[in-house]
């Protein structure tokens, strides 16, 4: 079992490294042989130079921090409001009837449609981007939390009644733990959504951040910096997803995956 474990953990690094290594190699070869013109895509060397420049000036750190803090704030608000809201929607019929159409409407509407209002109301910058993230993530989180509550087996509620779990206890000791595994999936999807919206939001309604870095580089025709921005965004997005995936190992959540 131990050697299998070690082999698995080696493979989980080896295989992705092979994929990325191959892509790098293709990029490098295509640039070196002149198949990929510098006018259309930067060379690896240009990318490295651009990256160094950004690090030396420190602006990559400022942009990363700005983007991370916006995603962090928007995500935190969306989760803090969306999860309880979804639990209420899943348990209170009146709330569901009243709010479900509105939430479905908001979810069907691209958050980017809100950009003009975000700028009118809040002005370009931090607040507008956070607003866009929340308007995208909150309905999604609320709706899929609601769906998770609706999917709880009826027998759990019968047991709750037999064991005198009522009101708040039913919410915290039955409904919440019952949806936790699905909630983790929801949280991962929502995190991905937040990253997408952050980039678009910063490009159109921001004045700092990784999305703005791309926007700005585009205006200055700095293809190398566009790719720097893309790489940092992609890597950070992956990292956030990884961190959330660790949640699935917690004993109160793992049962949902081990069954």
């Amino acid at each position: 079992m131990d050697t299998k474990h070690i082999r698995n953990s080696i493979n989980s690094w080896l295989y992705p490294s092979l994929t990325f290594g191959t892509l790098l190699l293709i990029w490098w070869l295509a640039s070196a042989r002149g198949y990929l013109s510098e006018q259309f895509f930067p060379t690896p060397a240009a990318f490295v130079t651009g990256f160094r420049e950004e690090v030396a000036s420190g602006s990559i750190f400022r942009d990363t921090l700005a983007s991370l803090s916006r995603v962090g704030a928007g995500y935190a608000i969306s989760v803090a409001v969306g999860v309880p809201l979804g639990m209420i929607l899943g348990t209170v019929l009146g709330a569901r009837l009243a709010l479900l159409p509105l939430l479905n409407f908001l979810r069907s509407l691209s958050p980017l449609a809100w950009i003009p209002f975000a700028i009118f109301w809040i002005g370009i910058g931090h607040g507008a981007v956070i607003f866009l993230i929340v308007i995208a993530a909150l309905p999604t989180i609320a709706l899929s939390t609601m769906a998770a509550v609706a999917g709880i087996p009826k027998v759990y509620f019968r047991v709750a009644q037999d064991y005198d779990l009522k009101g708040l206890q039913r919410l915290t000791r039955v409904i919440f733990p019952a949806i936790l595994p699905q909630l983790v999936t929801t949280l991962r999807v929502a995190m991905g959504l937040c990253w997408l919206v952050m980039v678009a939001g910063e490009m159109l309604a921001g004045n700092t951040g990784l999305g703005y870095l791309i926007h700005d580089a585009n205006n200055g025709l700095r293809l190398d910096l566009i790719v720097v921005g893309m790489v940092v965004i992609g890597l950070l997005g992956m990292l956030c997803d990884r961190l959330l995936m660790f949640l699935t190992r917690l004993p109160g959540i793992r049962w949902g995956y081990d069954r």
Partner: protein, 237 residues
């Protein structure tokens, strides 16, 4: 120790246009063990839902004293709680120390020592049913209702579980309502066996079994009772 009694008079229940139970009369005295058998879809689970108060009858009188707990056919344990956590659900009013003592006592009695920290998905079907029964008995309920508790288990495990149920009930006498497809299970365990008709179901046959427990499946009293119930259900060899 108080155990619950049940009094049902002229009870009927329908789901919409589907009449399920029709004019049921039943008295269960404290400490009695009643088994209910009947064809699939006749309304046995519905009757238990009515008794536990989960459903309200369409018409008729249902009186009950004491609390009820139901052991479900499968998957009634909370999968996010360990064996200990599930058992402790039965003991909400105790302080932490007495709760721990009561839980470890029950773990021993259901033969799951060493599995206290296991989650239900890591247990076998028989172990899970033992935890469910243990949970229902933990802290004491007046009426224990069992809805085909052993039907997912193989024959030998089922025989063993019957014995264990008897043993647990000897320590903690309860009023018990057992719903089962297994007529032998009914006659081996119960003081009284009721047979339901096809839907809309009423009680068409009733048999008292005065053989002291624990009984063996092969004891003559049990075998005779099994034959009588089978005959009442229309089975002639």
């Amino acid at each position: 120790m108080s155990t619950g009694s049940i009094r049902i008079k002229g009870l009927s229940h329908s789901y919409g246009a589907t009449a399920v139970l029709k004019d049921i009369h039943l008295d269960v005295s404290p400490g009695e063990f009643v088994a209910i058998v009947g064809p699939s879809g006749s309304g046995k689970s519905t009757l238990l839902s009515l008794l536990s108060g989960y459903l309200k009858p369409t018409s008729g009188v249902l009186e009950r004293t004491g609390t009820t707990r139901t052991v479900h056919q499968a998957d009634g344990l909370y999968p996010w709680l360990t064996v200990e956590g599930n058992l402790a659900l039965g003991l909400p009013k105790l302080d932490a120390a007495s709760k721990r003592r009561a839980v470890s006592d029950m773990v021993g009695r259901i033969g799951l020592a060493g599995f206290e920290k296991s989650f239900p998905h890591a247990l076998s079907g028989g172990m899970r049913q033992r935890v469910e029964i243990g949970r229902a008995l933990c802290g004491g309920t007046d009426v224990l209702m069992l809805d085909e508790p052993f039907s997912a288990l193989d024959y030998l495990t089922r025989l063993k579980m019957r014995g264990e149920l008897c043993r647990l009930l000897e320590d903690q006498p309860r009023t018990v309502i057992l719903v089962t497809h297994d007529i032998e299970e009914a006659t081996q365990l119960a003081d009284r066996v009721l047979v339901l008709s096809e839907r809309p179901a009423s009680i068409v046959y009733e048999l008292k079994i005065d053989v002291p427990r624990p009984r063996d499946v092969t004891a003559s009293g049990v075998v005779d009772a099994t034959k009588a119930v089978l005959k009442a259900m229309g089975y002639e060899p």
